[in-house]
Symmetry: C2
Subunit: 340 residues, 2 copies
């Protein structure tokens, strides 16, 4: 028996998480679900606490966690940070694993999509960079104000994310930085990159500055397999790869501690307030995040089955409006489950 902490969250989070949980339920594998449906913006607005220490401990004690989406226009940005970034940092989930695969030519925003099907993974460093919160504001709100956010890179952090990238490479690894302008961390990434490449002479490698990487991804996404980069560039590049793969609705992600194996799995999309209650939210991103969870728990066969079921419903056009279909969130989920 493995306990899965479930944080449905806000907006469409509960709707898509429900489909992910039911998908896992059909497969069995002895998973039990500990649903924390009070972790949401309402609670934050009432109590001022984004995630209580008791809830944090419950999640940390679970075998893995599944998250829907957190955020709310009524709450300040400290709320989303207090849930998502707290979990990433406090559980040292240093790998943000974001695969992007074009499931059907017609989903691509690119011309000649059949010749440019994206199939890559962004490996984003998830515990350093510009996301530590370290910095401050001097003379706030005056004309002399200076604000500083420290972009922090450590040899420990950079080395482990590079090594993780090599461990999941199929064809190649491309390291993305801005070492021609952002000097100090840039030099550290370059040093660690040279060493990591040396440890894996069997894997083909390349390097791009982030601005050039964006252009090349649009120009020819097939050139990329595994892309490894820092927290900020990973945030940006993984939204781009998701868009090139057909939009945010289907993008899945895993936040992993590569040492303990603990993972927090979430669709890349947000709360999508305009879709709440319409029954049109795409559940595929959440369901594919559940597939990543199965993989992490060692149930590769289950993950493969979920992906095959998703591919089949997509091929059959059993999809929500974002993918050109007219099925509801629940109908897509049911169609996936029917194929398991």
């Amino acid at each position: 028996m493995t306990s899965i902490a479930v944080i449905p969250g806000d907006g469409i989070g509960p709707e898509v998480t429900d489909q992910a949980v039911r998908t896992l339920d059909v497969l069995g594998f002895g998973l039990v679900f500990d649903v924390l449906d009070h972790v949401n913006a309402d609670t934050y607005l009432k109590t001022g606490t984004a995630l209580s220490d008791a809830d944090f401990d419950r999640i940390a004690a679970s075998g893995a966690a599944l998250l829907g989406a957190v955020g709310d226009a009524r709450a300040d940005t400290a709320y989303a940070r207090g849930v998502l970034l707290r979990l990433r940092f406090a559980l040292d989930l240093y790998v943000n694993y974001r695969p992007a695969r074009l499931m059907h030519d017609r989903f691509s925003p690119l011309r000649d999509a059949s010749r440019r099907p994206i199939d890559c993974v962004v490996i984003r460093e998830n515990t350093e960079g510009l996301y530590t919160g370290i910095g401050g504001r001097l003379r706030p709100s005056t004309s002399q104000e200076v604000a500083i956010d420290s972009e922090i890179s450590t040899r420990h952090g950079v080395t482990r994310i590079l090594d993780f990238a090599f461990s999941v490479a199929r064809r190649s690894v491309c390291m993305v930085d801005k070492s021609n302008a952002v000097r100090h961390g840039g030099a550290l990434w370059q040093d660690c990159w040279a060493l990591a490449r040396g440890r894996r002479p069997d894997v083909q490698t390349s390097h791009e500055y982030v601005d050039a990487a964006v252009m090349k991804l649009v120009h020819d996404p097939t050139a990329f397999d595994v892309i490894v980069t820092n927290n900020s560039y990973g945030d940006i590049l993984s939204d781009l790869t998701a868009e090139l793969a057909g939009g945010l609705g289907t993008a899945a992600s895993a936040n992993i501690n590569g040492a303990t194996g603990f993972g927090l799995f979430e669709p890349v999309h947000g709360t999508a307030p305009d879709l709440v209650g319409t029954g049109t939210a795409d559940p595929i991103g959440a369901v594919l995040s559940a597939a990543l969870l199965l993989e992490r728990l060692g149930h590769d066969d289950g993950a493969t089955a979920v992906r095959a079921a998703v591919d089949a419903v997509v091929a059959a056009g059993q999809v929500t409006p974002d993918l050109g279909g007219h099925l509801s969130t629940n109908d897509v989920g049911a169609a996936i489950r029917a194929r398991l």
Copy 2:
């Protein structure tokens, strides 16, 4: 008589700059050219100096500067920084103005290009952010190494770039940041943004987080007019908009001190070592940069004429291979001049 400092630089820099200078020459306007063709990687490799103080003073004393491209695989990154970033910072060229306009549907990488023609301008803050070089490495090359690059935002710097963006808005201004994760500078940008919007209630505005902005640009670039953002995001977004407008070959840019009016004009592309000497480098990015220079000097009619000539050669298919043509760099330049 206005003296224009010309820095052809490296790679294809001299080839495209030659076309830009000849375009300006045809138009007259009393421009004289002070060519600094010794500012290049050979000089840097020989002397260790990227840009001498004497050369810096010559450029600073000119009426405007035109740059080709700087960079060389034999030189370290301090070389490009020592020329380009030094000029941007020391001359306080705080506006990086990067327009992107799809000149012909067939240049777009997007499907249904005719419904999604990009026509926007990225206004990039050019003198702060992650580009100051401030930071360092603690315990370099040891397993305990920590590197820090400070992302610096000042009320002075953010306010002036936001106001500049409003001053060039046609339809709307979209401010892009990552204030949900990068807190301190994020809060400063948000404060300054609220004030800048208040000063220009006549202009339509929107806000996007940088990851969402990238998705929306690919999804529907027509949604954007003026985009204003920090140094790093401006670097990334302007390469994306250039790609969506048909590739780097035609993208022009201006580095401007909004107070003195001094400008350094350069194509967005780099040195393109593989194209050197082939005669296939696209001169349009450099020629359109010259048009921006004319505009800055108050010769709006000249700028309009150059743009019309470029549009005409593009419509006639008189273009280099990157745009599907078979003309040489010089032939494209000659075709543009023939229409002036």
